[in-house]
Amino acid sequence: MNFDLTDERQMLQDGLRRFLRDKYTPDLLKQIADSETGTSSDVWDGLADMGVIGALFTEDQGGFGGAGFDVALVAEEMGRVGATDPLIDTGILGGGLIAALGTDDQKAMIEDIIAGTRQLALAHGEPGSRYDLSRVGTTVADGKLTGRKAVVVNGGAADTLIVSARTFGDVADQEGISLYLVAADAPGLTRRSYALTGGGHAAEITLDDTPGTLLGTEGQAFDALPTAHARATCAISAEAVGLMDAIRELTVDYLKTRKQFGQPIGKFQALQHRMADVLIEIEQARSAVINLAGHLEAEPAVRDVHVAATKTLIGQVARLVAEESIQMHGGIGMTEEYGLAHLAKRLVMVDHRFGDTLYHMDRFIALAVA
């Protein structure tokens, strides 16, 4: 039992933290927010150079990490500055699925991903599919895809999309789902990209007889999705803890400086106690992420208990931290200009990807209570 970082991870953490601290100025955040894609190629190149994208892949896959604790470490640091770079979409979902299912030719793409020269997105969810992984209505005939994909994060900036489609079966069947690699500029593909509340962009994607290349076995792609989502859940949960730490720092600083009735509001006992409760819950969230990261490579039955437990707790604590921090700030916490707004919104929106507290509580009950 050991909760210390290995030397390699400690180095990665130190370097990444320094890099992000320097890069992520308020100006950069604004510039990213105002950009067409919600990303910064400058930051992305830097991440690639430092080996941060590579840290999401195992040595077998051509990376130099890839374990749960690598994913968590990187994501937590990204969260700490409110970064919106699409590591989850390009690296974990896109790259992860190619690594899991791809032919040798297809896997060659991972080198580009690690080098930072390729952007991916997983176009899986559809209007009305909510968080159900097996609900796929997009059809495929002769390798041509037709359907609609919803809230595809990084879908506007990606040059390659991984698109799910139904080869056979009913709309909610696990059997019969196939994955395809689709070029963003393929015929019949239209995308409408828009800014997200939590930063970054997503796209609504329409496919109309759009050609794609099969990724993995036809009709048998489903099993790869829970694994990719477990890793993405670990990442977004760790990112949430980074966001919580940043928000906590901001709020504690504010409590120390903002004065009311002649003293810093942090001297008011009611706020002290509430902030103590917030801190306790953040530590709970941190431990939950450790649990998930440490079981990410475990057998699916064990792993999924931790996926469900961790994402439930993260969603709950995220709401508490965001709401309490805005409340303790008062009016200033409501303004877009102040640094809290972006962090708090990004934190709240964590609950809307890869299943919310409701979805995961139901899963946890099924897996671990009854």
Partner: protein
Amino acid sequence: MNLNYTDDQIAFRDEVRAFLADNLPARLSEKVKSGEELTKQDHEEWHAILNARGWLAGNWPVEYGGTGWDAVQRHIFEDEMTKAAAPRIVPFGIAMLGPVLMKFGSEEQKAHYLPRILNGDDWWCQGYSEPGAGSDLASLRTTAVREGDYYIVNGQKTWTTLAQHADMIFCLVRTKKEGKPQEGISFLLIDMKSPGITVRPIELIDGSVEVNEVWFEDVRVPVGNLVGEENKGWTYAKYLLTHERTNIAGVGFASAGLEQLKRIARLELSAGKPLIENPLFAARIAQVQIDLMAMATTNLRVISAAAAGQAPGAESSMLKVKGTQVRQEINALTMQAVGPYAMPFPSEAVDGDNAPIGPDYARAPTGQYLNNRKLSIYGGSNEVQRAIIAKAILEL
């Protein structure tokens, strides 16, 4: 003890309901339902319709052109307005300034301003908060120095709602620096077109622009624009605050929000079944509905006491806290209900120019959730309300 309306009250409710059915433009109620921001023109249009019927100023006596309604009638009116998704009456002139002028204003001020409020000639905003003085109004720093027939005003106000539309602002300003901090405050009416006033909009967390910073640099205000006596402004402000507290629970908003939540939860499918049939989500709805049922009765108890002439006391602080909790919880559940389609940034999702992203009902909830964080902050934060309860009711 009787929970039912009297026959007269039922007749009044039916009258209000019929009027709204006939006179509320569908275009406006659609905007309210979808959570779209209303323009100044929208508000003015609706005010004019109500004023034509004599129903704009529910809390004004008849002699000033108001309705003369008692607390129960006002409640019925507000309740029907909310149910019909009517735009809320902009409170600054009618609900806030009006009562202060009637009680403390000069005859000239009453004769000049009150009709202009009803007719929509003046759009008012409220200049209370300052940077560094939120719930702690006594530490106000905007100054007004008398020079002949004018006050020269310097300073900054913030969180000034809809100042970008306003013709006039009623302001708390410091006219004396000695003595207790509350004592040197005066209540001043200022023309927003005066030279030296700058308005800077503040973008809020949901992308909306409804509050502003207002700067005063050597702004000249005629002494005739002072309300009541110099240095007595704190008294008038407190009087206004108690009037601001009517409908503080927001029962109507909560009821409308709950209906919206249930409608969405019936349409959204989770694992192929309506979300409202998910037992855990149903339980969260049930919880807030149960809380709301009780709160609505607490609200009626307070209103009923007010109609019988009792002054609203710390009970309104309890309603404020519980009311915001209920509304914020409904907002959170509604945002949760729309699932991944809660993610698009509100201003992109709500903007009418593009086709909507996701289902129609998914456009508003995230913005409402974010914007309504303000409910527990403004009008005396919930922390201030708890302090009032502890002091006034518990006597701790």
